[in-house]
Symmetry: D2
Subunit: 238 residues, 4 copies
């Protein structure tokens, strides 16, 4: 069974009234709850825990890590970023959610600025499915409407995704590649745009379905045979 | 110097008043004109000419072929489609414009239905550049507004493009991958969504710039060394 | 449970002594057997059955179709090719094996010649895993040695695969992209190079493991919401 | 005209007799020479110059940077790596050669370990062209033989290239994706495997041709319009 660690910066929901009303127990609690309901084993971890809750022991027991952060990306210690980075390259799945596009770990994996346009006016977003046969699309309708969202617009400065699953439309006139699959090392990374601390987006069933599908998709396979380095003896020498 | 053959079905502009007003000499004349101005050598060819104007001689002297068709895709003879197909695989560039998504040649190259959603209500379209460093983006602003367009919406049933250059936003709520690069055989194919017989879209300078850039990008390189078939003697036998 | 239809031309094994010795019941029997052992529900179908064994009823009950053909590609009726093509675009998985690169259905889906270099001298082949985190790599060693194989060499004239899983080395000096994933329509296609009528390649456990993994990977998801065509009412009209 | 800065670690050729015999003026001198002959404007820069020769002024006047390093990757200062990284994302082309796979700048751009297998026994390498229509393939034969090379073998731990142009075969039994195109930010990156301090590989005309083609391909286009950050006014407000 896939074990998920749901990571959250967990600042807005403690310091900002509006965010607390939407996610009183924190965004991580909401995400962990619906993933439990989908049959995953879940735990949570947050920024202000020792080692941000991401100890070697926790990561040893994590198949997929979900990441939500917004205002305190810089407070994530580089050592923990390196630790998570190594785990992803070794096969751990990673789901980067919404404002996590600017997290150290996502920028580290992408190698680019991960910058974009944004506007927080509660605009309508509509996600269109561009790859209906992809596992992340299982049981997902061909479009998902998010009534109120912070807009993210192109150019999204990331490497072209290995697979683009969703494209978003925004009321104010922008578009965004909002569901992006990447393979990095032996691990799989999914960037999923929707979600914000002041909109109840993670309470929408279709959004929950996508996140759950992405967890399944990012679950590592058992394959630990890759070797690197000097190979003094050619295979052809038998 | 790149030689371009601008192909047009050329029916709407002869039979439909509204189209004739926008493109009195035919869409091909407008496209050939601005490509001439950009320094390309151009000729035109149309459906009702013998062999649809695409004789072996014409194709021998064509670096890039642009394709516009809408209501008479079925009248293009299979033999000519095969002829063009072979040329593309051998290196000839192909630009497929707007309703050309349903042309025989595009479907032949893609291997899929190339179907999509559509609505012709003169909606506003805004193309966003998602790959600003791509040659097709040279000198192109980060977004292009088309005041009135026929809407095309996702799911666009094509293989994922090798490179996605533009993403379109539509007034009515849809999005579309509107600038798609493909490599097929030794040839390059660019699908570009904008353009319609009753809107003066090919008269917009930014749209013309994209088409001209795409012609440059799709120009074949000189490389005719690829061999296929039985190789009785292994390279290792020297 | 995934249901697999194992298709075979089934001519060599009846007409050619050498092939009959390796696969006395036909290649399809060997493939169906090991897939059964892996827990799939299997049936077989062959060229000389009515409708090549690929009736609408059979395809209605097929999640993944595997395809092996070599000397009689032209005898596969176009109508059946179209039938299979539609099924793939609607989500049915397709595994194209070895000489199936020249089958009508593979060429139809790829849109290219699918040509390559070849030499049948019983050379050693070594498949290297280039994407160790891919589901098709589950439990597969980092290289697989095939003691005797027909060589296929680059240039392989196919669209660049969405994901390249294996790269092959050949004794005589060539390389080949030997495990290629494609998404076409809602379906997934895997081309897997190894296998030949006169070498017992499909009896190798690692090769069997790859084929079984590919069947799992290509199993359709449940998602039938994609709509196409005219959408008179914009989503924004509510 | 494209201006190229040819960067070299330049240690082997000063400290190691064998390397000095092959490249008495340094690898950078050889590369700069043949690029001059191809019509590019070139300069060189080396590790032991102030700021490694990569001052802001030098980079202001660089369209494409080529990178060769082997034993002293760690001595490249992080500040210079960040400077080069920003330039690449802003459009500067980057060619990473051979052992540069382990340079800080390449790892920074890829986001992965960039590890591989290696063996330095002077084995024969044969590069096969897998994308004959690609601009980097212009005038290049379908295979290039390198008589003696250090072997690099898969798994090469990089993101799947946007385009794979060459695949290498090695005498000892390995394969390698040896010509890999990436788009990062507005810049283009080409990793090209051949080259080593003790083999005269950069004196081979076909190898020189590929490097020259890659410089042309990686030359930035003029397009500086991309904007990021807050967009308070939606485009739809006119």
């Amino acid at each position: 069974m896939t074990t998920v660690t749901v990571w959250n910066e967990y600042r807005h929901e403690r310091n900002d009234e509006e965010a607390r009303e939407v996610y009183p127990e924190g965004i991580h609690a909401t995400i962990a709850d619906f993933l439990e309901d989908e049959g995953f084993e879940t735990r949570t971890a947050t920024l202000d825990e020792p080692e941000h809750g991401l100890t070697e022991e926790v990561l040893d027991d994590t198949d997929v890590l979900t990441w939500w952060g917004h205002e305190a990306h810089d407070e994530v210690e580089d050592e923990i970023v390196e630790r998570v980075h190594e785990r992803v390259l070794s096969g751990m799945g990673l789901l980067v959610l919404h404002s996590g596009h600017f997290s150290k770990i996502f920028k580290r994996l992408m190698g680019t600025t991960c910058d974009l346009k944004w506007r927080n006016e509660g605009e309508k977003e509509r996600l269109w499915l561009v790859e209906p046969g992809h596992p992340i699309a299982e049981g997902v309708p061909e479009s998902i409407e998010v009534p109120e969202a912070e807009m993210y617009g192109e150019r999204f400065d990331v490497p072209a995704p290995d697979t683009l699953v969703f494209n978003s439309w925004f009321e104010g006139g922008e578009v965004f590649r909002s569901g992006c699959c990447y393979r990095r090392g032996s691990g799989r990374v999914f960037y999923f745009r929707p979600g914000h601390e002041t909109y109840p987006i993670y309470k929408q069933p279709e959004i929950q379905k996508v996140v759950a599908n992405a967890v399944s998709w990012a679950t590592p396979i058992s394959n630990s045979d890759t070797s690197f380095g000097n190979v003094p003896k050619p295979p052809e020498d038998g």
